[in-house]
């Protein structure tokens, strides 16, 4: 069977909108276009009803209550609202936050912004498996700690953090726990009660919904979490996020959440895992000197992040241009710095330059994986033939003993 190229293996960056999601959204752009805040006519009622259904669908995915959903423009806004909103509301209680060095930039930069306003932030390191240490978390707690923010699963390496254990520790100390669950939802089971989380960031476009819509789940009871808004206006979303609700987007997020929940039990995610495993097994059969970045055991079923030693990531991506993927190489970033996540795990900078991230998705086919495998193997061998480093290693030279001319 033939495949259409380029094939998409970058499902951590974004996912295609599921046609069932797009179909559900469509009527809310045209005939049912009402403002959900219009209380006095049927256009408004229809819109409001659609929004409430979406809240239910999201709550079912998370295990929380529909009333606890606050719609936002996406996970970046959700993360900002969680961090800055909690900080502002609780600043009389304390000004200390704990997070991790491998968090998403939306978390890290929100924390940096608070540091400029006098907050103190502890950035937990991670082990070579990419996970934080619970002992280090324990040691980082202070009297004035008001918030802990740790992601469910990392966007680069797919490594899953021990959220339930972190939640338990936070709960025992009455510290608010925020979890950016964007990458994990619909890929692994997640329940707000079992996880002891208080705030959860959600993005639609990472789970086959549209871009431009996300949500923050905010615990309402035992304990009730309060937030100061970062966007002021008409007092929508119980005052936590003003702005006319984008009903069609919300309908899309709701439908995406419903489908994401189904994928966990209807075999969908098992199929994704099998394809990811097939890719990794195949690569290991045909290539030497591959280094898996991050824990295999605690990893999203769709993620593969591998360093192809002696082959620079950008050249690799150009070599396999029929496959859409990402690299942690410096040459693919505007900053010319290799991935901060890989560096935080202690991955050698040399190997960080050779890392490639693959993200298998709901619409990836077996034929695409077979095609990708053949192409990657061929191009890695070709680029290694071109690599002076690979040649030196074949000659038995230890690259660590060479005096390189840094530039």
């Amino acid at each position: 069977m033939s495949v259409n190229t380029p094939i998409y293996l970058d499902n951590h960056a974004t996912t295609p909108c599921d046609p069932r999601v797009a179909e559900a959204m469509w009527p809310y752009l045209t005939q049912s276009f009402g403002n959900a805040a219009s209380r006095n006519h049927s256009f408004g009622w229809t819109a409001r009803e659609a929004v409430e259904i979406a809240r239910e669908q999201i709550a079912e995915l998370l295990g929380g209550d529909a009333k606890e959903i606050v719609f936002t423009s996406g996970a970046t806004e959700s993360d900002n609202l969680a961090i800055k909103g909690v900080a502002k509301f609780y600043e009389s209680k304390g000004k200390h936050i704990i997070t991790a060095t491998t968090e998403h930039k939306a978390i890290l930069d929100s924390c940096h912004a608070l540091e400029a306003e006098g907050w103190e932030v502890t950035y937990l390191g991670v082990g070579e498996d990419g996970r934080i240490s619970l002992d280090e978390l324990e040691a980082a707690f202070r009297e004035d700690t008001v918030l802990v923010s740790i992601m469910l699963a990392n966007n680069e390496i797919g490594v899953i953090q021990p959220i339930a254990e972190i939640g338990e520790k936070c709960r025992a100390r009455k510290i608010i726990f925020h979890c950016d669950a964007v990458q994990g939802l619909g890929r692994i089971p997640f329940d707000v009660s079992e996880m002891n989380v208080d705030l959860v960031s959600i993005s639609a476009h990472k789970m086959y919904g549209p871009k431009g819509i996300g949500a923050l789940w905010v615990r309402r009871g035992r304990p009730r979490v309060r937030l100061a808004p970062i966007i002021d206006g008409g007092g929508h979303e119980r005052g936590m996020r003003s702005g006319t609700l984008p009903v069609h987007q919300i309908v899309g997020l709701g439908k995406a959440a419903e489908l994401a929940r189904e994928e966990l039990t209807n075999g969908g995610i098992d199929r994704v895992r099998r394809l990811r495993d097939k890719l990794w097994t195949g690569l290991q059969e045909h290539l030497d000197e591959l280094y898996l970045n991050g824990s295999w055991e605690h990893r999203l079923p769709n993620n593969l992040n591998v360093s192809f030693a002696y082959v620079e990531g950008e050249a690799m991506m150009m070599g396999i241009k029929d496959i859409a993927c990402s690299s942690g190489s410096a040459c693919t970033s505007a900053s010319l710095e290799p991935s901060y996540v890989l560096r935080a795990m202690g991955v050698d900078v040399e190997l960080a330059h050779t890392s490639i991230r693959f993200g298998v998705g709901r619409f990836t086919t077996e034929e695409e994986i077979d095609f990708a495998l053949d192409l990657i193997v061929e191009k890695v061998k070709w680029l290694r033939e071109m690599s002076p480093l690979y040649e030196m290693v074949q000659e038995g030279i230890d690259l660590k003993t060479i005096q390189w001319t840094a530039h």
Binding site: Y310, V311, E312, G313, E314, A315, M318, G319, S329, A330, C331, T332, A334, L336, P338, V349, E350, H353, E385, M386, S387, P388, L389, Y390, E391, L399, W404, T405, A406, H407
Partner: protein
């Protein structure tokens, strides 16, 4: 990275990939860059007694523009006299490949590789 067609062509069809005998007295080897920086170029030049570059081979670990820059310089220096090869500047390479500003360092590295290979050749000759 949006690259010029020339970069893509050199990357997809690199010229003169390979190695020359580094112990040959007529071969100068230049190795520049560092794995930690994400690019290492090895350029080898075979130079005859009249100072003409008869053959050039490269191997490069690096991004697309690093590979393209090294491939390009092998085609430029072949048949050139040492003085002419030494006169190739990074600006010439960057212009020929229309490198984006963020990739200028790749052309600098390529210029350095030529100089390093010739210097290696010359020190071999002085030692004879």
């Amino acid at each position: 990275m949006a690259y010029s067609e020339k970069v893509i062509d050199h990357l997809e069809n690199p010229r003169n990939v390979g190695s020359l005998d580094r112990n040959d007295p007529d071969v100068g080897t230049g190795m520049v860059g560092a794995p930690a920086c994400g690019d290492v170029m090895k350029l080898q030049l075979k130079i005859n007694d009249s100072g003409v570059i008869e053959d050039a081979k490269f191997k490069t670990f690096g991004c697309g523009s690093a590979i393209a820059s090294s491939s390009l310089i092998t085609t430029m220096v072949k048949g050139q006299k040492i003085e002419d090869a030494l006169a190739i500047s990074n600006a010439d390479i960057a212009r020929e490949l229309s490198l984006p500003p963020v990739k200028i360092h790749c052309s600098v590295l390529a210029e350095d590789a030529i100089k390093a290979a010739i210097s290696d050749y010359q020190s071999k000759k002085e030692g004879e």
